[in-house]
């Protein structure tokens, strides 16, 4: 009869949600896989909302999860995970926007910048309009852009958006108001985008006028 000397742990994490945080703290690779599989799409969605189509999103997605796992001790309950990850995703995206802005200053006409613009040739009106939308959002300050995106594109409530942006409700509302005015004003200067947006949101532009 074999006498077990070692505790043998299966690699598959087959325990319940309550044990997931403990598993993550213990560095169980199976728990990490469950954690990632469960929340990666949601984090991806937030990053994509803030940044649009960006070639760096796969790297940023990893950054968010690595930050999360390094700060897993802050997390007490599993029901906080989604909003907590959204906050980290917004923080990561904001840093990325600022990094891009600095790079733009340093390499205004670099081949890198030019190439990025042509990575995805527009294949439909929707894609073209999407690209123009994010070009417009690129002109907003990072914090205003984030407020706008979280509220209008991600569809968060005002308190949720404020929490995700790590700011107060009053500040978020101010940023949102400024962002909305600037965005609509700039959309008016782009006939293609205006037409695309008007198809379903005609009132939005009229309202500003």
């Amino acid at each position: 009869m074999l006498q077990p000397k070692y505790m043998v742990t299966p690699l598959t994490f087959a325990r319940g949600d309550d044990d997931l945080i403990d598993g993550l703290r213990a560095g169980h690779p199976g728990a990490a896989a469950v954690f990632y599989d469960r929340y990666a799409t949601s984090v991806h969605r937030t990053l994509q909302s803030v940044l649009g189509r960006d070639a760096d999103i796969p790297d940023l997605l990893q950054d968010v999860f690595i930050r999360a796992i390094d700060r897993i001790s802050e997390l007490q309950h599993l029901d906080q995970v989604r909003s907590w990850l959204t906050t980290i995703a917004v923080f990561t995206a904001r840093a990325h926007i600022r990094r891009l802005a600095r790079r733009k200053w340093l390499f205004l006409f670099s081949p890198d910048q030019t190439r990025q613009r042509h990575l995805e040739p527009p294949s439909s009106d929707a894609r073209r309009a999407l690209r123009e939308t994010y070009r417009t959002l690129d002109t907003l300050p990072a914090n205003e852009r984030i407020a706008f995106v979280l509220r209008y594109i991600d569809g968060l409530t005002l308190p949720e958006a404020a929490a995700a942006a790590s700011t107060s409700l009053a500040t978020l509302k101010r940023r949102l108001s400024r962002a909305e005015k600037k965005f609509i004003a700039r959309v008016r200067e782009q006939p293609l985008l205006e037409q695309w947006l008007q198809e379903g949101t005609r009132w939005t532009l009229e309202r500003q006028g």
């Binding site: 070692y6 560095g27 999103i57 790297d59 690595i66 209008y152 939005t204």
Partner: protein, 417 residues
């Protein structure tokens, strides 16, 4: 405001979702993240002191006489340091000199000393702390690589690392050392401070300084390949006489032999240490059928994992079928059904069979921890098996329950097909 959110925002959101980039991006990041989690202890341990040290430092001296304190400190400082072993396969455990310390193939093992020094043994590595003193220890690296961080102290420490015939004497530094007993190659990479490398492989001891790395091949003839400052090291004052290299070699060989002979029949130890292929071989040596008859449910799952990870699919299937036969109705048996589905899907492309196993898991554990994954995989297996109506039903079921889950992109693609 809400009209704007419902109109403009939804429109942009729908266009973003139409890009269908999420599934690909999510898959691309998965492996890197899981590898990061598996190795993060290396980074954490190299900069961390034992959590209970601040408690010692925080002792209140207010009501204790100065002489008593001085005496206590004197006694404490003369006591040998202690160490703890922190690995994934069990709780943090106090270490004893001579214990074999191994890191499995998945997660590194950290050895933390009470005075603040630490060693992180990388995956697949093996070492022993041979002896402990008040200001250092003697460590034998039997196999693999170890990241070492020796705490700086007021008095010079006395640390010695041995790897085959090579010795490394340390005072205060950070370095990485590795030893491969098969080709008898030794390497050291200094990150901070300096060490003295000696032993039978070198004609004279050599000092290796910060930024240097050294590779030595200790084959039949003593050959060295150095990329170091070629400065002969002075013998440190008060240094104990180095252990003769041949005795170190003999010790290493003897201990390795002990390890192999004691572990040969114990597949559990090998699997727990991450030696999956060896674990499977050891179980075969004992008798695979016998192991499948005698092991408990968790052990059978582990053995199946070991067989799966060492590409021995038939063995994994056998262990899982035994698990289901011997422990029907248990959670482990349901997990076994999930694993059988995964093997059928990933290893054999038997999608219809995979679908049956995932379906069985869901019957047995409708709200089990693998439920989301099982529904997603069931949908994918049915789709690949050509059962489109069932795959569509699964896709709807999946999206209803997990609209942002890892299989949501696939589910939408199936519904749009």
């Amino acid at each position: 405001m809400s009209n704007l959110a419902n109109g403009l925002g939804k429109k942009i959101r729908a266009a973003l979702d139409g890009e269908n980039a999420a599934a690909e991006d999510v898959r691309a990041g998965r492996k890197t993240f899981i590898d990061y989690v598996a190795t993060r202890d290396v980074r954490r341990a190299s900069g961390r002191r034992l959590s209970w040290l601040p408690g010692v430092r925080g002792l209140s001296f207010g009501f204790v006489g100065a002489a008593a304190v001085a005496a206590a400190v004197f006694v404490w400082m003369r006591l040998p340091i202690s160490f703890q072993v922190d690995s994934d396969s069990g709780p943090v455990a106090a270490g004893n000199p001579g214990d074999l310390i191994e890191a499995n193939a998945v997660v590194p093992t950290a050895v933390r000393f009470s005075e603040g020094s630490s060693i992180v043994l990388e995956r697949g590595g093996r070492l022993r702390v041979l002896s402990l003193e008040s200001n250092g220890a003697r460590v034998l690296v039997e196999k693999g690589a170890a990241d070492v961080a020796i705490a700086h102290r007021h008095a010079p420490g006395k640390w010695r690392f041995e790897a085959g015939p090579v010795t490394v004497d340390v005072t205060g530094t950070r370095f990485r050392v590795d030893w491969n007993p098969e080709d008898r190659s030794f390497g050291i990479d200094l990150k901070e401070g300096s060490v003295i490398v000696g032993g039978d492989c070198l004609p004279t001891p050599r000092r290796v300084q910060r930024g240097d790395n050294m590779r030595i091949s200790c084959g039949t003839a003593a050959k060295t390949k150095l990329a170091t400052t070629d400065v002969p090291a002075p013998a440190p004052a008060g240094e104990e006489k180095p252990t003769p290299a041949h005795s170190t070699q003999a010790l290493a060989r003897h201990e390795l032999r002990d390890v192999r002979s004691s572990d040969e029949g114990d597949w559990r130890a090998l699997v727990a240490a991450g030696h999956y292929a060896e674990g499977v071989r050891a179980a075969e040596h004992v008798g695979w059928s016998r192991v499948c008859r005698t092991a408990n449910a968790v052990e059978l799952l582990s053995l199946a994992d070991a067989a799966r990870l060492s590409d021995q699919t038939p063995r994994a299937v056998e262990a899982l079928l035994a698990l289901r036969q011997r422990f029907p109705g248990s959670t482990s048996a349901a997990t076994g059904a999930f694993s059988l589905g995964r093997l059928a899907f990933e290893k054999r492309g038997a999608y219809a069979e995979a679908a049956r196993w995932f379906s069985r898991y869901l019957d047995e554990q409708p709200d089990g921890p693998l439920m989301g994954d099982a529904v997603g995989r069931l949908m994918e297996a049915r789709h690949r098996a050509g059962d489109r109506p069932a795959a569509r039903r699964d896709a709807e079921r999946y999206l209803q329950r997990f609209p942002e889950g890892p299989y949501a992109g696939t589910a939408r693609a199936i519904l749009a097909d």
